[in-house]
């Protein structure tokens, strides 16, 4: 290859040499002849004649050089480039639609690659699995407590290592370090050895790092943290830092690229589990994520079987503790974790697959579009092709030339598409990260993505280049040369051009229906009755850790703060709560309600939240009975406010005011003083649960979450809030400031992403299809001007001519619609099988898709029809 290239560039010199060689031959032959006594002029002529066809001999000699494959390829490329330059409009349209199609596919594939394909940088990631806990009607999640971890670790026979890790933010301070929150985790002592990760410096956390009760205050940091915060200082081992009040010694640096088990949630620091709060090991807190390495020869099926046996022990423990029948429905799952823990994959994996299918449809439309453009242009170039075939051009060579041109078009599209995709994936990741979770996915195109893009570029190039290439391959020179250049097309050819347009129309009906399905779903979610008013609420997070405020002092400060916040102009009410609605968290406890006899095994859990006065007014939750909390509640018997669902369940709609609730393990009862409407707390689609609210100030339950209802745009008061907080609590930092609207949107990120992207892709697809129809009609009219002129001359009215064009448009649209509706129906079932909760029963999406397509088709047919109707016989004659 390198020799070939070298020769390619030396071709000119070789050509010259050959020329010179032949020149020398002729000179010597002439010389000999002159010596034999011939006249110099006659001698030169005779020598040339004797030599033969010089150009032919040069050509056949050149073939001996053996680079013809590369040379002809280069010729094809140059020829194609020349063709592209000659019709810049066509080239621009083709490259742009290719860029959009390939860009969309590359962007989605980058996401899929980062989410599901790229494996963790650990030893043999294919043997890693994670354990998942699944309650009915809930996503499975990876969260276990210490006791269960110990039980599985000691009793399983299928894992060569079972590891536990938490997701914990640490507040790291140290000499030369700005105090900052660093994402990290407490990890079991076998964490690094099971993953097969080796340190680049020092050592990693290992069995020497103690057992519960005798903590080892050590930390391992990530390679990037070492780089960015310690400037790759090799003396980092032994450095002292601290997390809050706990001193830590850095013992090592993890290898480059390793950032924990969740690629989208990179961790920078790891501490041994034994160094965590002593209580964590004994209480039933579900804070550990479990992953394991399968023993050699053990299949994931065997691991599932074994774990479901060990899971029975967990269920017994839970049942003993809670006496709740629904515990029996909990299940454990074991899933591959070579690409990391599945949280983000669960949330975005299936939408990404659906979007991949949508993007593929868009690309197909773009291909069909370019194919029909090439076909139309091929028709214009048929004469050229026929002449070339007649002059002896190899047909295979012509075929190859056409394919080269098509692949060149798609390759240019792909280059532009990669740029689009690079920008697009950044945007996608930002949208993904706008929800409740931190998403720091490295989704930039890597080698796998580039290979994928190159693959689809070549494939699509061949796909849309094949039809026109085949046409020129089959071109019969004689019959065509005899015909006039504008003679009618063959029936097969016309049919083929039309079916390409029909395919585009059908695909875009399917695309539009899919998009409309997602948009419909999103709007249903957005218009759900949430039980609270999502607009005009500002949510503020305060960071009190290390501020010096705590307990009673903080409680008093918080009450003072609420008063000052309510005094800000534009603020109607301010409150504080344990957690915001739609924050994706919640708390539950089993309880006994006065006057209600629970059956054995009945679910006795009540959801709970601690809220300050004005909570219900701030969030717009209606107070139906009784009163709100007040500052007078402090120091008095405990009070609670309950929701409607609780009242209906325990009191059958009777008056609950004055009744009492007692929580398990808590002797003091709560008196119900008010009833409020049901409000969603965790998930948009959840069933209302039985809910109890407590007064945070009465319970001395401080929180860092503040909410303000405003009469102006909520963001407008954010600066005032910061100023007020700084003025009152000097050491407290204002953390995240969002709106309730943003919080609600954050709960439906996958749905928003699907609606946005499918909407965008289907709009592009529909425009391309309409352009395709327009192009074909315009082309047909242009070719038939002669015929139309004759028809007009023979007495056809404008209406007749318009009808003629519209009939053609209508025929193609009808066929496109029929196929498209079938496709859409089938596609709906495919999408519904992946994503539950879609409004698939509704016919609206398909009707919408069909209606939009019909409208676009009419629009596309309008101009050509008008053009046809205006043809005058004279014009047609002049055209001839």
């Amino acid at each position: 290859m390198s020799l070939g290239l070298e020769r390619l560039f030396h071709r000119k010199r070789s050509d010259q040499e050959l020329d010179e060689e032949i020149q020398a031959h002729l000179a010597m032959a002439t010389h000999d002849r002159i010596e034999l006594g011939e006249d110099p002029q006659a001698a030169a002529l005779a020598a040339r004649r004797e030599f033969g066809n010089r150009a032919l001999i040069q050509e056949t000699t050149r073939e001996m050089w053996g680079w013809s494959a590369l040379t002809t390829f280069w010729q094809d490329v140059r020829y194609a480039l020349r063709g592209m330059r000659r019709s810049p409009g066509f080239t621009a349209v083709a490259v742009l639609s290719m860029a959009l199609g390939i860009g969309a596919n590359t962007a989605i594939f980058s996401l899929i690659n980062a989410l599901m394909l790229r494996t963790l940088p650990v030893h043999d990631p294919g043997r890693l699995v994670e354990l998942l806990f699944k309650a009915p009607r809930q996503d499975h999640f990876n969260a276990f407590d210490w006791r269960n971890y110990q039980h599985y670790r000691e009793n399983n026979h299928v894992f060569s290592g079972l590891i536990a890790a938490s997701d914990t933010p640490f507040t790291i301070r140290g000499a030369g370090l700005e105090p900052e929150t660093v994402r990290g985790g407490f990890v079991s002592t076998n964490y690094f050895s099971t993953l097969g990760v080796n340190p680049v410096l020092g050592r990693l956390i290992g069995p020497e790092d103690g057992s519960p009760g005798s903590p080892a205050n050590v930390a391992v940091v990530s390679w990037s943290y070492w780089q960015n915060r310690f400037n790759s200082d090799r003396a980092i081992v032994g450095r002292q830092i601290s997390d809050g009040n706990q001193p830590l010694t850095i013992v090592g640096v993890a290898p480059r690229g390793f950032a924990g088990l969740e690629p989208a949630n990179p961790q920078d620091i790891w501490l041994p589990l034994t160094a965590s709060q002593p209580g964590n090991a004994t209480t039933a807190q579900y804070w550990l994520k479990l992953a394991a390495r399968l023993k050699p020869g053990v299949s994931i099926g065997q691991a599932r079987a074994e774990m479901s046996v060990l899971w029975q022990w967990t269920l017994e423990q839970e049942f003993k503790a809670n006496d709740d029948r629904t515990v029996r429905e909990w299940k454990m799952e074991v899933q591959p974790a070579g690409a990391g823990l599945s949280h983000l994959r669960d949330q975005f994996g299936k939408p990404a697959l659906v979007l991949m299918a949508v993007a593929a449809l868009l690309l197909l439309i773009a291909c069909a579009n370019i194919a029909s453009l090439l076909l139309a242009r091929g028709a214009a170039r048929r004469r050229e092709m026929a002449v070339r075939v007649a002059l002896g051009a190899g047909r295979l060579r012509l075929l190859r030339q056409e394919l080269t041109e098509a692949v060149l078009l798609s390759a240019s599209g792909a280059l532009l598409g990669i740029l689009l995709a690079n920008w697009g994936t950044g945007l996608l990741v930002r949208i993904m990260g706008s929800g409740r979770q931190r998403v720091e996915l490295q989704a930039h195109p890597d080698l796998v993505v580039l290979l994928f893009t190159a693959g689809i570029a070549i494939l699509t190039g061949i796909l849309f280049g094949l039809a026109p290439a085949w046409q020129s391959f089959r071109s019969a020179p004689m019959s065509f040369l005899r015909e006039s250049a504008r003679a009618g097309e063959t029936r097969g050819r016309r049919l083929f051009g039309r079916s390409l347009v029909v395919a585009q129309l059908a695909l875009s009906v399917a695309l539009l229906s899919a998009a409309s399905l997602f948009v419909h779903h999103l709007s249903q979610l957005q218009h759900l009755d949430l039980g609270f008013q999502r607009d005009h609420v500002l949510l503020v997070n305060l960071n009190t850790a290390g501020s010096g405020y705590d307990g009673v002092r903080l409680s008093r400060a918080n009450q003072e703060l609420l008063g000052r916040l309510e005094a800000i102009p534009g603020v109607r009410s301010a409150t504080m709560c344990g957690y915001f609605p739609m924050a994706g968290v919640g708390a539950m406890r089993p309880a006994t309600v006065e006057g209600y006899q629970a059956k054995p095994g009945e679910r006795r859990f009540l959801s709970q939240n601690w809220v300050a006065p004005h909570y219900f007014a701030t969030f717009g939750i209606p107070l139906l009975m009784g009163r709100d909390f007040s500052s007078q509640d402090q120091g008095r018997p405990r009070v609670a406010i309950v929701n409607q669902t609780l009242v209906r369940y325990f009191f059958g709609g009777g008056n609950p005011i004055g009744r009492h609730i007692v929580f398990d393990g808590d002797s003091q009862p709560f008196e119900i003083v008010g009833v409020v409407g049901d409000a969603k707390s965790g998930d948009l689609q959840e069933q209302a649960s039985r809910f109890v609210y407590f007064n945070s100030f009465q319970m001395s339950r401080n929180s860092s979450q503040f909410a303000l209802r405003t009469s102006v745009e909520p963001e407008a008061v954010a600066d005032d809030v910061r100023r007020v907080v700084r003025g009152l609590l000097k050491t407290v930092a204002v953390g995240k400031v969002t709106t309730l609207d943003g919080q609600v949107d954050g709960a439906i990120v996958p749905e928003r992403l699907s609606a946005l992207l499918s909407g965008l892709f289907s709009a592009l697809g529909a425009v391309l299809a309409a352009l395709g129809l327009y192009g074909l009609l315009a082309y047909t009219v242009a070719r038939r001007i002669n015929e139309i002129g004759i028809r007009v001359a023979l007495g056809a009215t404008r209406t007749d001519i318009t009808r003629m064009v519209l009939r053609e448009a209508f025929g193609m649209s009808a066929a496109g619609l029929a196929i498209g509706v079938l496709l859409a129906y089938w596609g709906k079932r495919f999408v519904a099988s992946l994503i539950p909760g879609l409004p698939v029963q509704s016919v609206v999406p398909i009707v919408f898709g069909a209606a939009v397509m019909v409208a676009l088709a009419l629009l596309a047919a309008y101009t050509p029809a008008r053009r046809a109707a205006r043809v005058s016989p004279m014009e047609a004659l002049r055209y001839e």
Partner: protein, 121 residues
Amino acid sequence: MRKREGYKSGIELLQGTLDMLILQTLRRGPQHGYGIGQAIRSGSGEVLQAETGSLYPALHRLEKQGWIKSEWKSSEHRQRAKYYQLTEAGKKQLISEHSRWKQLSAAIVRLMNPSEEGGDL
């Protein structure tokens, strides 16, 4: 005119034998394309004719195969010309082609003269 017709009536070379003749000619020393053509013609008593349309492709093919190599030198008439010369591989190739040729021609002779079979060998 007459002379040219004489060339025309020369025997066309069999496919493959031209390579052997070129190699054989170059055994006597470096030679340019024109010279090789002349040598084949005169060496065969004006019977064999190496057409330039076959000669030059053959020379370039043999060079590509490494059996001959070339350099630019001045000829006896101070004409700059491309001289070809036999390589070691070319010498081996010539020996093997020569022995194949001997087998082939002996076989043809036997076929063409069946009466001489078993004659004076």
